[in-house]
C-alpha cells in the first residue's frame, strides 16, 4: 500500500506531557499508516502510549512534533472548530467506560451525533438509529436509560452511537476493559462483524491477549515506540 493510500498517517510523531517541572515523553517518534477497512489492534502494556496514540488519531489531542494526517488533513493545521467537525463526520468513538449520556435513553444516545450533524432529516435519523440499534441487538431496549442496562448492553449502545454517523474509522480505547471476558468476546465479535459487513475501519487499543488474537493487524507499542507493526 502506498503512503498516499493510508486514511491515517503518522510521521515521526512525538508527544510529551508536562508533569510539574518534569517532561514525560509518551510517544517518541511514531510513524505508521492505517488504511480503510482495517481491523487493527494497538497492543502494549499500560503506559506504553496506546491511549495517547488513539487521542492523536482521534483529533482530541495534538502532537508535540511530527505529522498526523487524518482523511488527508494535517490535524496540526486545523482549528478547534474544524477538528471538532472532523471528529463529528469522520471518526466514531467507543470508550472504555461507555460514556453514554446518562439523562438520555438508548434511542436518544444513538441519535445524539446525528443531531449534532444537523443536516439529516428526522426520518433518516430514525431509520439509521433503528438500523444500528438493531445491528447491536438492542431493539428491545429502545427507551431504556443507561442505568437500566448491563455493561455489555451499554457498550453496544456506544458502538451504535459510534457507527450511526457512518464514520470512516471507529476508534475504541480498551472497549472490553470494563466487561467480563465473555461479554468482551461478544463485543469484539460484533465489531468484527460490522467491519466485515459495513466495511468500517476499526482501530482499538487493548492489552488483552485473547482479543489481540482476533485482529488482522497488530501494532505493538513499548515505551512510546512501535516495536511491531
Amino acid at each position: 500500500m502506498n503512503k498516499s493510500d493510508y486514511f491515517i498517517q503518522l510521521n515521526q510523531v512525538t508527544k510529551d506531557y508536562q508533569l510539574g517541572k518534569v517532561i514525560v515523553p509518551a510517544l517518541k517518534g511514531v510513524s505508521l499508516g492505517i488504511g480503510l477497512g482495517e481491523f487493527t489492534v494497538i497492543a502494549g502494556p499500560s503506559g506504553s502510549g496506546k491511549t495517547t496514540l488513539l487521542n492523536l488519531i482521534g483529533c482530541v489531542d495534538t502532537a508535540t512534533s511530527g505529522q498526523v494526517i487524518v482523511a488527508e488533513k494535517d490535524t496540526a493545521r486545523l482549528t478547534e472548530v474544524e477538528l471538532t467537525d472532523l471528529r463529528l463526520h469522520t471518526i466514531g468513538f467507543i470508550f472504555q467506560s461507555f460514556n453514554l449520556i446518562s439523562v438520555l435513553n438508548v434511542v436518544d444516545n444513538v441519535e445524539f451525533p446525528l443531531l449534532l450533524q444537523k443536516k439529516i432529516s428526522k426520518a433518516e435519523r430514525k431509520e439509521r438509529v433503528l438500523h444500528f440499534v438493531e445491528k447491536v441487538g438492542l431493539q428491545g431496549h429502545l427507551n431504556h436509560r443507561p442505568n437500566e442496562l448491563s455493561g455489555g448492553q451499554r457498550q453496544r449502545v456506544a458502538i451504535a452511537r459510534a457507527l450511526v454517523t457512518q464514520p470512516k474509522i471507529v476508534l475504541a480505547d480498551e472497549p472490553t476493559a470494563n466487561l467480563d471476558s465473555k461479554t468482551g468476546q461478544t463485543i469484539i465479535d460484533l465489531m468484527k462483524h460490522i467491519n466485515e459487513t459495513e466495511k468500517t475501519t476499526f482501530l482499538f487499543s487493548t492489552h488483552d491477549h485473547h482479543i489481540i488474537q482476533h485482529a488482522r493487524r497488530v501494532i505493538e507499542l513499548q515505551d512510546g515506540l512501535i516495536t511491531k507493526s
Binding site: 463526520h89 460514556n99 450533524q117
Partner: protein, 691 residues
C-alpha cells in the same frame, strides 16, 4: 429540541441542585414582586396623604429662602426658615393667568405655637373674679370653697414635690412652705374679702405655680384661609364644634392633637385602655403597660377631684358611693378607688366616667368657643401673641389617627401674619395713631452703631437727628400684641398680604413636573421671587421616607439577587465539574463549544423560567389576598403612610414582568462562568476519566 430535552432532563435528574436554585429564585421573585407592590402601595398612600393633608400637588415659597421648605418639619422636627413672599394677590393672579393647569392656590404659613391655659387654681381664681364681676353671691361662696379645697390638696402633695421645687430656679417658688402656711391659715381666709386683690394676687403668684402639671401646650399650626383650605383639601372634615366663619379670625384644633394632648390626662388613659381592650383584645391582667397606666391614673386622682367643685361634689359623692358600693363619703378616696380599674369593671367605670364625672371636670384644657392668647415666635425672634377663638376641631378623613396628618392646628391667615410680624391694614392704622400718642425716638442705622460703638459709650443716649427706623419707646407693647378676635377681614385683605408658602392644586396630576417648570419660568420672567417644588420634596423628611423604604427594599432585593447569582453560579459550576466526563464525551463525538454554552444557558433559562413563574404566581396570590383583607396599620404613624387604617396592595403586572426578566437575566449572567468553564473542558477528558 435536543438542548431543551437535555436541560429538562438534567433539571429533573439533579434534584438537590434544582431545589436549591429553585428555592432561591422563588424567594427572590416573591420578595421582589410583593415588596415592589407594597412599596408602590405605601408610596401611593403617602402621596395621597401628603397631597391631601397639607401639601397640595405643588408648593411655592420664596426663592430667597434660607432653608428648604419642609412642611412636616426638618430632621429635628423644627419649622424651617423659608422667609416669606410679600404679595399673594400678585403671585396668584400672575400664575393663574399664565398657567391654566393650576386649579387652586391656598396661601399658607406654618409655625410653632404655645398656649398656657393655666392650671385648676388659675382657672378657679379667674372664675372667682368673673363671679365677683357678675355679682353672683352663691357662686362666689362655692368657688371660694373650691379654691380652699384645691389649696389643701396642694398642701397635702407638697412633701412629694419638694425635690421638684428645689430643682426649679423660679423665684415664685421660694419660701413655698411659708406661703402655704399663710394660704391655709384662718386669718388669710377671714381677711380674704377684705384684702381681695392682694389675696388673689398672692394665690395666683405664689400658690398656683406649686401645681406641677403638663398644662403648657406646644403644637404646630398652619395659617391659611380656612375656607379655601377646607374646600381644596377634600378630606377635610370638622369633627367637633363648627368651621371658622368666612372672614372671621379663628382657630381649629387638629382633632388628633385635641384628643391626645388637650384632653384631660385621666380621660386619655381611659380612652387608651378602652382602645387596647377592644381593638387589640389585650387584658389588664396580662399587660403590665396597662397596669402601669392605671397606677398613673390613680396617682393623678387629684387632677379629677380637685376640679370637682363643692356643689358638684355633693351630687357626685352619693352616686360614686352607690356605684362603687363604698361606705366612704370622701370624694378623694372614692375617686382613687374608682380609677383603680380591672378587666371585670373597666367598661362599666368607663361609661360612668363619661356619664357622671367628665361633665363635672374640665375635660379639655381648652374648650370649644373659648378665646385664648396664642403665642409664637415672630420673624424678628420675639415672642408675640394674638387672641384667637377656638371654633372646633378638624381632621382629614381616612387618616384620623395619624399624628403626622393631624400635626397641624389651623389659624386664619390674618392672625398668622400678625404673629409672624406683619400687621393688617387695621393694625397699621391703629399703630400709627398709637405712635402719635406715645411719641417715638428715631434712630437711623449709623445712629444705632454710634450708640453701641466704643467711642460713644461715654455718651449714652445720643441719637441721630435723621429719622429712618422707628423704634417704639415701650418694648412691652411691641412684645405682647393683643388683637381683637372678633375683627372681621375681607377677602381682599386676606389676598393683599404676605404668605410663607402656598399649596397649589393642578387639574392634571400627571403634569406636576411641567407645571413646576412653568411656575419657575413665570417667576423668573415676572420677578415673582418664588420657587416651586412638588409635594414629595415639600414634605421634607416625611417625603423622603418613601424613597428610604424603596431604597431598603432595593437593597434587600439586591442582596437576594446577589445571593441568587452566587448560588446559581456555584451550583452550575458544580454541575459543570460533575459532568466533566459527559461534556468531554459530547465534545469528543463532535459537539462544538457553542453547543456546551447553549446547553448550560438553556438549563439556567428553563430553571429560572419555571421557578420565576412559580414565584410570581405565589406573589400574585399573596397580593390578591392582601388586596382583599388589607394590611392593618400597626400604629398611628402607619395610617399616614397607608393613607388609611389599612393598606391594600395591588398586583402590578409590570413588576411581575420586570422581575421575570431580571431573574432570567440573573440566571444567564450567573451561568456565564460555569458555562465558560464547561466550554473549556477538553474532549480528552472523555478518555482521561475513563481510566
Amino acid at each position: 429540541m435536543l438542548l431543551l430535552k437535555l436541560a429538562f432532563r438534567n433539571i429533573l435528574l439533579h434534584k438537590l441542585k434544582t431545589s436549591v436554585i429553585g428555592a432561591i429564585i422563588v424567594i427572590g421573585t416573591v420578595l421582589a414582586v410583593v415588596g415592589n407592590s407594597l412599596v408602590d402601595a405605601v408610596s401611593t398612600g403617602m402621596q395621597k396623604s401628603i397631597v391631601q393633608s397639607l401639601a397640595g400637588h405643588i408648593q411655592i415659597y420664596s426663592s430667597h429662602a434660607k432653608e428648604k421648605l419642609a412642611l412636616f418639619g426638618d430632621t429635628g422636627g423644627n419649622v424651617t426658615d423659608i422667609g416669606h413672599v410679600r404679595d399673594f394677590r400678585r403671585v396668584k393672579e400672575t400664575l393663574m393667568r399664565e398657567i391654566p393647569d393650576i386649579q387652586s392656590m391656598i396661601p399658607m404659613g406654618t409655625n410653632f405655637a404655645f398656649i398656657n391655659p393655666g392650671n385648676v387654681l388659675d382657672s378657679k381664681l379667674e372664675e372667682y373674679r368673673k363671679n365677683e364681676k357678675e355679682k353672683s353671691a352663691t357662686e362666689l361662696v362655692s368657688t371660694k370653697e373650691h379654691i380652699r379645697n384645691i389649696i389643701l390638696d396642694i398642701q397635702e402633695g407638697l412633701p412629694r414635690i419638694a425635690v421638684m421645687i428645689a430643682a426649679e430656679d423660679d423665684p415664685t417658688l421660694k419660701n413655698s412652705a411659708e406661703n402655704m402656711k399663710r394660704a391655709t391659715s384662718e386669718t388669710f381666709w377671714s381677711q380674704f374679702e377684705a384684702k381681695r386683690e392682694e389675696s388673689l394676687e398672692f394665690l395666683a403668684n405664689r400658690i398656683a405655680p406649686l401645681i406641677f402639671d403638663d398644662n403648657q401646650l406646644f403644637f404646630s399650626f398652619v395659617g391659611t384661609s380656612p375656607k379655601r383650605f377646607s374646600e381644596a383639601f377634600s378630606n377635610f372634615e370638622i369633627v367637633k364644634g363648627e368651621m371658622i366663619p368666612d372672614g372671621r379670625r379663628g382657630f381649629l384644633f387638629s382633632d388628633y392633637f385635641y384628643e391626645n394632648t388637650v384632653k384631660h390626662r385621666v380621660a386619655r388613659v381611659f380612652d387608651e385602655i378602652q382602645e387596647r381592650l377592644t381593638k387589640h383584645h389585650e387584658t389588664i391582667a396580662a399587660e403590665k403597660a396597662l397596669q402601669d397606666k392605671i397606677k398613673t391614673n390613680v396617682a393623678s386622682a387629684a387632677e379629677v377631684y380637685s376640679q370637682i367643685d363643692p356643689a358638684a361634689s355633693r351630687i357626685i359623692v352619693p352616686k360614686l358611693k352607690s356605684f362603687l358600693k363604698s361606705e366612704s363619703g370622701d370624694l378623694r378616696e372614692l375617686v382613687r378607688f374608682f380609677l383603680n380599674v380591672s378587666d371585670a369593671n373597666f367598661f362599666e367605670r368607663f361609661n360612668f366616667f363619661y356619664a357622671e364625672i367628665a361633665p363635672r371636670i374640665r375635660l379639655y384644657k381648652m374648650g370649644l368657643g373659648e378665646v385664648f392668647p396664642l403665642s409664637a415666635f415672630a420673624k424678628s425672634g420675639f415672642s408675640t401673641a394674638v387672641n384667637v377663638k377656638v371654633y372646633g376641631t378638624y381632621h382629614f378623613k381616612s387618616f384620623e389617627s395619624s399624628p403626622i396628618a393631624g400635626n397641624f392646628c389651623l389659624l386664619d391667615l390674618i392672625s398668622f401674619r400678625e404673629l409672624y410680624g406683619f400687621q393688617s391694614d387695621d393694625r397699621v392704622k391703629e399703630s400709627q395713631s398709637l405712635e402719635k400718642e406715645m411719641g417715638l425716638v428715631d434712630f437711623d442705622r449709623s445712629g444705632v452703631d454710634a450708640l453701641f460703638s466704643k467711642k460713644d459709650l461715654t455718651k449714652p443716649g445720643v441719637a441721630a437727628k435723621s429719622a429712618k427706623i422707628a423704634v417704639p419707646q415701650s418694648f412691652g407693647s411691641f412684645k405682647e400684641k393683643q388683637t381683637s378676635y372678633q375683627q372681621v377681614y375681607s377677602d381682599s385683605e386676606m389676598e393683599n398680604g404676605v404668605f410663607l408658602n402656598t399649596a397649589i392644586f393642578i387639574k392634571d396630576v400627571g403634569k406636576v413636573s411641567q407645571v413646576i417648570a412653568k411656575i419657575n419660568e413665570v417667576s423668573k420672567k415676572e420677578k415673582l421671587e418664588i420657587q416651586a417644588i412638588d409635594y414629595n420634596e415639600a414634605a421634607g423628611l416625611v417625603g423622603q421616607l418613601s424613597f428610604v423604604v424603596r431604597a431598603i427594599l432595593f437593597v434587600c432585593v439586591a442582596i437576594i439577587f446577589a445571593v441568587a447569582t452566587f448560588i446559581i453560579m456555584n451550583s452550575m459550576l458544580m454541575a459543570a465539574l460533575e459532568r466533566t466526563k459527559e461534556i468531554g464525551t459530547m465534545r469528543a463525538i463532535g459537539a462544538q463549544r457553542r453547543f456546551i454554552l447553549l446547553l448550560f444557558l438553556n438549563e439556567a433559562s428553563v430553571l429560572s423560567f419555571i421557578f420565576s413563574i412559580l414565584g410570581s404566581a405565589i406573589a400574585v396570590l399573596i397580593l390578591f389576598w392582601l388586596g382583599r383583607v388589607g394590611i392593618p396599620a400597626g400604629g398611628d404613624v402607619a395610617t399616614f403612610f397607608f393613607s388609611g387604617p389599612r393598606l391594600y396592595p395591588a398586583v402590578h403586572w409590570i413588576h411581575v414582568f420586570v422581575v421575570l426578566l431580571a431573574m432570567t437575566f440573573i440566571s444567564i449572567v450567573s451561568t456565564q462562568y460555569p458555562a465558560w468553564r464547561a466550554m473549556r473542558i477538553s474532549p480528552i477528558e472523555a478518555m482521561r476519566s475513563a481510566k
